[in-house]
Subunit: 354 residues, 2 copies
Amino acid sequence: MKMSDRKKKILQIVVDEYINTAVPVSSKSITEKHLTDVSSATVRNELASLEELGYLTQFHTSGGRVPSPQAYRFYIEELMERNDLSESDLDYIERAFNDKSRDVEHLIKSVSEVISELTDYTSVAITPHADKETIRSINLLPCGEGTALLVIMTSERILRDSFIELPENMTDDELSGASKMISQIFAGKGLAEVRDAEEEIVAEFGQYRQVMREVIEALKTYSRPREEDVVLTGADKIFNHPEYEDIENVKNFLTVISSKDKLADIIEGENDEIQINVKIGSSGDKDVPDDCSVVTATYSAGGKNLGTYGVIGPIRMDYPKVISVLENVGKALEELASGKKKDKKDSKNEQKDR
Amino acid sequence: MKMSDRKKKILQIVVDEYINTAVPVSSKSITEKHLTDVSSATVRNELASLEELGYLTQFHTSGGRVPSPQAYRFYIEELMERNDLSESDLDYIERAFNDKSRDVEHLIKSVSEVISELTDYTSVAITPHADKETIRSINLLPCGEGTALLVIMTSERILRDSFIELPENMTDDELSGASKMISQIFAGKGLAEVRDAEEEIVAEFGQYRQVMREVIEALKTYSRPREEDVVLTGADKIFNHPEYEDIENVKNFLTVISSKDKLADIIEGENDEIQINVKIGSSGDKDVPDDCSVVTATYSAGGKNLGTYGVIGPIRMDYPKVISVLENVGKALEELASGKKKDKKDSKNEQKDR
DNA sequence: CATTAGCACTTGAAGGTTGAGAGTGCTAAC
DNA sequence: GTTAGCACTCTCAACCTTCAAGTGCTAATG
């Protein structure tokens, strides 16, 4: 059955209304507030039909109707009206990113905060996956007791959280020599590439074979997002939404967000080329709770991936608002990145508008 | 009024029982399970007296009695019986710390996990405060686009999360020069000392004044614990305890733990010399929720501070278990630290037993 | 043939009643 | 000082009733 325009209109009203009020919507309320030119009986017929099509559900026969996940998807695809952010919201974004963006790790935190604050949902962010980046240089800094700090500069950022064990009696000078040598060999190679080619590389390496092996070992820890790469902000925001008066929902939610591993899986989706990605309920096979939606966006500026950001919250989410915020934050980041580069080096990035 | 031995005994029974069952305890249950040689009426008299003394409270006249915060304090001071950990728990601790303790940041995570797992409460940990440490060396690594990574080696560990902005056109060689110079001047000084002496130091510094200023600026961020220094594990564990069936309690709890700042304040107490520290309810003026207890321990080995660890949970906490776990984890850490040092350098740390 | 008025029907939420069960406080006896 | 016994209080669950909301259906209407 084809959806008539009126059906669409009614579905849109239901979703809008339910998002705003969290109360199942009745035929009467529709005719009173939005569709004053038909009677509630007519709307009832349409509602019954929409229910048959799988867009609406009722908890019990006298309780009004609630959109199904399918309805939300349709709503986002075709029905939703973008509403612009308020002046104050735009201001807030403007002021939030002045010069904090020194590196991805810091940036990610403030962006995540902004998103959570403006949307009133819990925000999750994850740094871009290091695997695809190429190594620019490798530094080994002595730090006493036979260990060294490994600092890897990649094309995109700095990785600095690994320690390696040194052979006995290695002097600082030898370490510095090894550091330079390794750096030269790895420069220009991809992180994943080095990890996988392991044996050959170590073999052709003489004196510093052990150090080399340790370095490669350390590189392996970057194949998965680390805990530090996943940022969570505003977990307590869920209590602003009535679905979380129910302890079971809170339990679900908290269980998911207390594992950074799970979080990483959830928001690190296939959203490489897609700008904004919406997962509703258990749509995917991932371990998103049935009653949650996740909206994510991957930002990049000047070819540089700036991470994936998103919100996680109830299915009854204010999608227009969330999507607006994500879009506007994205714009602001692009401007910041390209503007900054221009200031410093006269970059050739053209402004991207959508 | 002086507490008779029997009163103490009864109070102990009440606290033990309530900790285990979470159900208000009645005079009858006491005489049935523990004090079989007196009648329930006698116990009732004692209970009434204990209530008058402020150790017990009743919700309603027929609901059995519940220990007050005061009772828990007394219990911990005088009544509690330490029970040894089970073999499997000891094993678990044993296996948990093999060679993960490469540096405090990593150590803190695994220790926190162990504590949460064994106690079944949410665990919080915080790295030692950098302020008291002395600087061993300072390294500036170039990382493109006019910025440098600042790596500070202190007496205790490595701080490596700051970036500083470089003057225009500074070459890598110049940077390396500045790095060495700054390192020499700061070596041996305390972190706080350098921060506070700011102006004098900068003044007597010539060529690299701007870099210097940036370095000091960066040092300032270590005066407070950073988000990365606070680790939270097992937040979802609270649902294993019946007090958190109540949404209000969950709300309180989640609000506190979702701010790393607040968490830091809570567990970073005055427990410098005290081994184990227990805060019950709103005993202090801190922002511990009224219905929460916090038990913390600060570990050190060989004069090296290893951080503060603890659990946060309901007032009705299994103190004997928690304290045992904290003690045993502490022992294991000491052994690990001294054992390791012995392996490597034949350290002179004598084994500390208690 | 789509629309509508009208009405019976279903359901949950709120409020009240009741009885059972638990636990205490008190008193009088030992 | 201890205890048996009993009246009293309070909660909890079950049950009922009433009320309001909202629907589905039917028959009338243009």
